[in-house]
Assembly symmetry: C2
Homo-oligomer: 345 residues x 2
């Protein structure tokens, strides 16, 4: 979607022209940052979820939808190394979901939605402090805003990766994309025909777990040179780090942690890899760090009960494309759009 | 819409249960406030505009729509006595408006939209620092977020009105509602059949001027005991102040500044009054203050080149309904829904 990126860039350039003295970071990263208190900075992020574009009511249990609405924004704050603090929520509500005490199904929908939202908010001590509601002619639209804090200068941007840094990713990749495939093929949550692995894949897609603790502590320790959350897919998101940091990257085929849930949609290793690097919506944290810090990073992940994998390295930006894939000691280009084997299908 | 209010209240109660130490003000006012820097507080507000609910593309010039998207949120910050600083903007964009350089009409739409948005932003030194964009199946949906600052403890809430205070309103009321009536009856911007007064009414509705300077300086001076912006209509908004402050109010029929633009839709004085108190979307500032401060307030309004009118007084909350109308020294109840003469039509 180059036209959308051009569009965003045009807005960004316009916005950057009016720089304010105490702004630390505006458009172009996972969150905007401005200076607050002595020694503290505030982060804000907003994520839009449109019915039938970003989710379908036919397969998203309302409780999980409420969870996900907050989770995607918490993930952005985590990807900045921040601690989430406040949230705002905007809802454009179609007639079918207008809150009425006389309509039990609708009432249940919103009770469930907010149960999911507030359960996640309470887990991380996030307080909802505002929002707006309007009616909508057709579709439910959700806009989720989260504000967080970090120590001054500690926000982890996308532009700090250095040649020689190692590339790390939390958790595993591809389960969300596998879950989406199952849903698009008609699978539904809780249907008896689904086995546990399919349920897990679907759950990963519909109810992602943001890496709040790990992101916050990584930010506090100052160990990451660049970071974002995997929303567009590993290949694409790594290319964002490369572009913003003016570096290249080599990704190790055998190191990428392909989620075992991917097995429910393919048993072919190349297909599984393709799904893991191109699938998107994993909401894992992808970051770069000096190799000296690997032991400390693994210890932190262990304390957060998270898998952490070193999947490649940052190299000078001499090569095009920016990302190369290393398999059996041979390098081949990897498109930001993903693994070609998958793109061809 | 009592069901929507119940809905919001339920969310609000849920949110209030998780109170954070440095939160100054959460859900329930024009903006949320939390403590920042020594001596400074941050305010954030969000306003949702849904196509065919809050605006129609058929009659909103894109430049004015961009202006209004920001104006409504600036108005909220002004109504808190704050100075706006940053903004975020979220857009759900239907296929007909997807940005493509190959579609000149669409490109012009967004150029105009952002010209209106940024022109207003620059007027008040507001910087766009983030946002999100998604596609939407049918309608354009805009979510506008503005962040501002005020000195610690200076945010003007809705709950500080005291018996004996005077009630003031900036500008005049009813022009926006008159403009909307004209638009709904088929009038359009710039059509030769419209006379200047009709154009002014339509402009007030489609391109409201937020009272940014007056609100900010009123906040700095600390002269208002309660304040909000007139979005639902004077009667309804004054009832919000009464409810939150546990007081009643008397409104003087002859004092309410009915906009002269109202004359384009009615020549009947009672109808004109009804439109002024019930119409909504005036985005004037409605506030209460100690009568001792009247001279200072009028001077401030003069410096901001704004009309300011004392329209009534705050009384104890003994009476039901909370708002009474005084006309020819006789009191009669005024429904928050507005003036009955209008409601009967």
């Amino acid at each position: 979607m180059p036209s959308e990126f051009d569009f965003i860039k045009a807005i960004q350039q316009k916005a950057a022209a009016q720089s304010a003295a105490d702004l630390v970071l505006g458009i172009g990263d996972d969150a905007a940052v401005w200076r607050e208190q002595a020694g503290r900075e505030t982060l804000i992020t907003v994520d839009l979820l449109v019915e039938d574009v970003d989710f379908k009511l036919a397969y998203a249990p309302p409780r999980w939808l409420g969870h996900k609405a907050l989770a995607v924004s918490l993930s952005d704050i985590a990807a900045m190394g921040g601690a989430p603090k406040f949230a705002l929520l905007t809802l454009a509500i179609p007639p079918t979901l207008t809150f009425q005490t006389s309509a039990p199904a609708t009432e249940t929908f919103w009770q469930e939605f907010f149960a999911g939202y507030f359960s996640l908010a309470e887990t991380y001590g996030v307080q909802l402090i505002g929002g707006d509601i309007s009616s909508a002619p057709e579709r439910l639209t959700i806009d989720s805003i989260v504000i967080g804090h970090c120590a001054a200068g500690r926000a982890v941007r996308r532009n700090g990766a250095k040649s020689g840094d190692a590339v790390f990713v939390t958790g595993s990749l591809g389960a969300s994309a596998a879950g989406l495939k199952l849903l698009l093929n008609g699978a539904r949550v809780g249907e008896a025909t689904n086995e546990a692995m399919s349920e897990a894949a679907i759950r990963t897609h519909l109810r992602p777990e943001p890496r709040v603790e790990f992101g916050r502590r990584l930010g506090e320790l100052g160990l990451a040179t660049a970071m974002l959350d995997v929303s567009d897919g590993l290949a694409q998101d790594l290319s964002h780090i490369c572009a913003d940091s003016s570096v290249g990257a080599i990704l190790d085929f055998d190191a990428v942690p392909v989620a075992e849930e991917v097995s429910v949609v393919t048993t072919n290793a190349a297909d599984a890899f393709a799904l893991a690097v191109s699938g998107g919506e994993d909401f894992e944290l992808l970051f770069t760090a000096n190799t000296e810090n690997e032991a400390a990073l693994l210890m932190l992940a262990d304390e957060c009960r998270l898998r952490l994998t070193r999947i490649g390295e940052i190299v000078p930006a001499d090569d095009t494309p920016a990302i190369q894939l290393r398999r059996a000691n041979k390098l081949s280009p990897l498109s930001p759009r993903g693994y070609d084997h998958f793109a061809d299908r």
